[in-house]
């Protein structure tokens, strides 16, 4: 019904507004971009204005995975593990040229872009990116979150595809492995 669609849209707007202004980043910091991450979290370029300053150093409590710096092949399993441990909804920001595409390191040691192992929502170019670029990226991500569909009600959950997190970490698996939200 049209009224239900209108209510769903309003609900999505509200949830989108809440989620976009309460991002809990998990700063997966490895290299030089970490210095710019520290700068963008500090007083001169403040991410606290966007509600995204408080880092959660455990992936269980975070929803924005900021991959800051070069990811080597040795670090890639750790990145994958951290990503898998995060709960839905989650977003991934590839911060810097090395996370986006390997940067100017094209050799045996460097993963040529984190999107080879995890899905990425927003790429931030720069080596390292200026703090203004990062703020711009956070705002773009916020626009994306605001316009997204947020299926949080049980009625919406019924009948949808199990998410990646459901398949990987079923909390209450039933006898045939189907999560309760699907029954």
């Amino acid at each position: 019904m049209a009224v239900m669609d209108y209510m769903t849209t309003k609900k999505d707007e509200l949830v989108g507004w809440i989620r976009k202004f309460s991002l809990f980043p998990y700063p997966f910091v490895t290299a030089c971009c970490g210095m710019e991450f520290m700068a963008v979290s500090s007083t001169l370029y403040d991410t606290d204005r966007f509600g995204a300053a408080l880092p959660r150093f455990t992936p269980r409590q975070a929803d924005l995975l900021m991959v800051v710096g070069t990811i080597s092949h040795k670090e890639a399993p750790i990145l994958k593990k951290v990503y898998d441990q995060m709960c839905e909804p989650k977003w991934v920001m590839a911060f810097g040229a090395c996370a986006t595409s390997g940067g100017f390191y094209r050799n045996y040691g460097v993963l040529q872009g984190i999107d080879r192992v995890i899905p990425v929502d927003i790429y931030v170019p720069g080596c390292p990116p200026r703090p203004e670029t990062v703020i711009d990226a956070i705002m773009m991500l916020q626009d994306r979150i605001a316009g997204d569909h947020h299926p949080i009600l049980p009625a919406e959950q019924r009948g949808r595809e199990p998410s990646h997190a459901d398949k990987v970490f079923p909390i209450f698996p039933t006898a045939d492995g189907v999560p309760p939200s699907q029954t």
Partner: protein, 161 residues
């Protein structure tokens, strides 16, 4: 500048003439070329006689067309004489085994692990030659000249699409 006793190049040459194949100077630094079997006595002598107590670095150079293939290069520093010295040792590719310096310097542990990782040179006596900059399952030694730079060995399978 600091009033420390300078170490003359001749003093080192005289002291270790029997252990050194060839000695030269490189931009003010004495360079001693020696064979593998003389490494431990020379290092012990440098440390005890001239106070080369700071082990700076060990690395290798790969001369692909030459035999012996590798040149192992050590750098030490003496506080008493404010002097650095370089040791160069040819190591054949068929039997890349050299004695370890972990008995002399604790810092040799990690540096020898790195040379083993990058070049495949074994350090006899260093019980811990696990990969340090690379990972378990990496095949080959990347800093050798015949390892192509773009050969990646990914650990996590790539996503589709």
């Amino acid at each position: 500048m600091t009033g420390r006793a300078p170490l003359s190049f001749d003093a080192i040459e005289r002291e270790f003439a029997s252990l050194v194949e060839r000695s030269s100077q490189s931009f003010g630094m004495p360079v001693l070329e020696l064979r593998v079997e003389n490494l431990l006595p020379l290092v012990t002598g440098l440390r005890d006689r001239f106070d080369f107590a700071l082990f700076l670095d060990v690395t290798a150079v790969d001369y692909l067309e030459r035999s012996p293939r590798f040149d192992l290069v050590y750098h030490f520093y003496s506080r008493r004489h404010n002097q650095r010295v370089r040791l160069k040792m040819p190591v054949p590719a068929e039997r890349p085994v050299v004695p370890t310096l972990t008995g002399h310097y604790g810092s040799a542990r990690y540096m020898e692990r790195e040379v083993h990782d990058m070049y495949g040179i074994e350090f006899a006596g260093n019980g811990d030659l696990r990969p340090i900059l690379l990972y378990d399952g990496f095949i080959g030694h990347p800093l050798r000249k015949d390892y192509p730079i773009e050969r990646e060995q990914p650990v996590v399978p790539y996503r589709a699409g």
